[in-house]
Amino acid sequence: MTEAAFAYTTPTDALVAKFAGSVAIESHGQSVVHVEKSSLADVVEYLRVSEEFTMCLDVTAVDHLQDVERAQIPGIKRERFEVVVNLISHPRNIRIRLITQVPESDPSVPTLTSSFSGTSFPEREVYDMFGITFDGHPDLTRILMPDEWVGHPLRKDDAPARVPVTFKGDPGPR
């Protein structure tokens, strides 16, 4: 693909122009674009088709419930969860990161498996660990925890990060 096919100089400019509600920032030298939750699948498909982003490296999530300090970004309403997607373009040798805010009241995001089948496993992991569902995922089941586990361990208010150490003959919880 030649450079003339791209009307914008960088993919972040193209995204901010095409998708309303997107905000592009730079984080430690890496391009990050905050997008709306509803347009996440469209953004990824656009990047794959038109901007030559050939591989989706990672889909993960963050729980900001207990953040002491959180940067405010103008134009983005911060929610409890964030879903983070990392993409790479091999021909252009660039990377991009997409972050979308996911409220606790409606923890669902459109799936990316229609653009990249390899997001199947990481989306299942995000569902398992955070309880964020991906609409349209072909097999959204637990992947790391046993099937009958109740709860979503990586949420801040779910499983404790440190369980009390028990000893034989221990008089009680420490």
């Binding site: 693909m1 984080s27 430690h28 030298g29 890496q30 990050v32 794959r48 088709v49 030559e52 050939t54 591989m55 989706c56 490296l57 990672d58 993960t60 963050v62 729980d63 900001h64 207990q66 953040d67 002491v68 300090e69 959180r70 940067a71 983070v84 990392n86 091999h90 021909p91 040798n93 990377r95 990161r97 498996t113 229609s114 653009s115 990249f116 089948s117 390899g118 997001t119 199947s120 496993f121 990481p122 992991e125 660990m129 072909p138 097999d139 089941t141 637990r142 992947i143 790391l144 925890m145 046993p146 099937d147 361990p153 990586l154 499983a159 990060a161 440190r162």
Partner: protein
């Protein structure tokens, strides 16, 4: 070879020789997309509604005359693992077999889930390397390096030159030991049991050198945010160069033993074929991607540490089968030896860690003399240091592919989120397309060639 942009773009479009998978892909998707991912065929594999594979046909046994089996008959679902002799950890494969042919295969993981990402939120940044190092336990220094790089990006510090070169040398030694383990276990899985002993013989030598430098054979906790835990000991050059010679002799032995061996070739040539399009769709990196004809290696294309100052080649092949991946990992050891020799020759002097009192603990001798040093030591090892709020994604090329660390901090001494993109987690998605249509006896060969380490799959 150094890659130019033309070379990078060469293999992306339309090379579908050797596979019939693209026939199933919808026409309009093919026209619109730069790459035609193998969507329908892949989505068929994840079409189950639950963890268990259900049989596709129903059999009614009525007790009377048995029903006539038409065509191929019924398929059988078998379960392989999680405890099985293939030495690749606790991976469970559910396979649907039609006779000896695998119709569908589904990996079930989670049997080694350790909650390391949750533990990572509980440990300070100083302690974080001990946690991360146990994810990919065969190349622990790669995990430590990617975590330390992420923390240093958030802190906005530059490590000194000597630390960069020491890190590079250690990571390449780790790549050698990881690929030797691959040769050993891959050989044993295919029946060449003596490969286990030969591979371990060379690996013990590399581990001995790592023990001389870091203090431990495995799970070193040596590459820490800010630099390294200690300086190189006296006499390290002889030890490292000696092990380089031993490893080269060992690799020549394996090559003589296996590469032209007709049994080895009939077990690996043409087995477990994957294409570049499938790799792109399935997020597969590392030797598997390089075996499909796409020479993508982060050390060359997006260099980190000092890889742009050393001379080495990227090994890649065209066929995408098990034999190719075996040969890639064999020759990558020789490239790593080349890099290690250059590191020994060019190792700069200087500090082995950042001289910032807020990040680096003081030398132990100073604690007796200076109250300030004592307080710094105490604070660093109890509370750790604070990292400004932000988020970053650091990535390096581990022996298995691209390992990344996505780190989010909120200004305190512990991360909000420490997520490691372990390459084996994504590479496992390659097993299903590789196995379909092959015999069940190839299943072990295919799993072995993906080189999964369950520690980083399940974290």
């Amino acid at each position: 070879m150094s890659l130019t942009e033309e070379e990078l773009t060469m293999q992306i479009t339309g090379d579908s020789s050797g596979t019939d998978s693209l026939d199933d892909v919808a026409e309009d998707v093919v026209e619109q997309s730069v790459i035609a991912p193998d969507l329908k065929r892949l989505s068929r594999q994840t079409g189950e509604g639950s963890q268990e594979l259900r049989p596709l046909q129903e059999i009614v046994i009525a007790g009377g005359p048995w029903p006539e089996l038409e065509g191929d008959g019924q398929t059988m679902i078998i379960n392989m693992g999680p405890q099985h002799p293939s030495t690749h950890g606790v991976l469970r494969m559910m396979m649907e077999l039609d006779g000896e042919t695998v119709v569908r295969a589904k990996p079930v993981i989670g049997y080694l889930h350790t909650g390391m990402e949750k533990t990572g939120e509980e440990l300070t940044y100083v302690q974080g390397a001990t946690n991360v190092t146990r994810m990919d336990y065969v190349s622990p220094l790669s995990n430590e390096l990617v975590f330390a790089t992420a923390v240093e990006q958030l802190l906005d510090v530059e490590v000194p030159e000597r630390a960069i070169w020491m890190r590079m040398m250690l990571v390449e030694l780790n790549r050698i030991s990881s690929h030797l383990l691959f040769q050993a276990t891959n050989g044993m899985d295919m029946g060449a049991v003596n490969m286990m002993l030969y591979g371990w013989r060379e690996r013990e030598e590399v581990l001995r050198v790592l023990e001389i430098i870091t203090g431990l054979r495995m799970n070193h906790n040596f590459i820490r945010p800010g630099g390294l835990a200690a300086d190189l000991p006296d006499g390290w050059q002889e030890a490292v160069l000696g092990v380089c010679e031993q490893v080269e002799a060992g690799i020549a032995d394996y090559d003589k033993l296996l590469t032209e061996n007709p049994i080895w070739q009939s077990r690996t040539v043409g087995v477990g074929v994957i294409t570049t399009e499938q790799c792109m769709a399935l997020s597969i990196t590392g030797p598997i991607l390089r075996s499909t004809g796409f020479p993508w290696d982060l050390r060359k294309t997006q260099p980190y540490l000092a890889y742009d100052q050393v001379d080495f080649d990227v090994i890649y092949t065209d066929n995408g089968d098990c034999y190719d991946r075996y040969r890639i990992r064999l020759f990558e050891v020789l490239e790593s030896v080349k890099i290690v020799r250059q590191c020994v020759a060019k190792m700069p002097g200087g500090d082995y860690r950042v001289q910032d009192k807020k990040i680096t603990p003081p030398p132990r001798a100073r604690i007796d003399e200076s109250m300030e040093a004592l307080i710094h030591h105490f604070k660093l090892f109890t509370e750790g240091f604070r990292v400004p709020p932000g988020e970053t994604y650091a990535r390096i090329e581990s022996p298995r592919g691209e390992i990344g660390c996505y780190l989010v901090s909120d200004g305190t001494g512990k991360p909000v989120r420490m997520h490691v993109r372990g390459p084996s987690f994504y590479n496992l998605q390659a097993i299903s397309p590789m196995m379909e249509g092959r015999m069940v006896a190839d299943a072990v060969a295919i799993i072995s060639t993906c080189d999964p380490i369950m520690g980083e799959v399940d974290r």
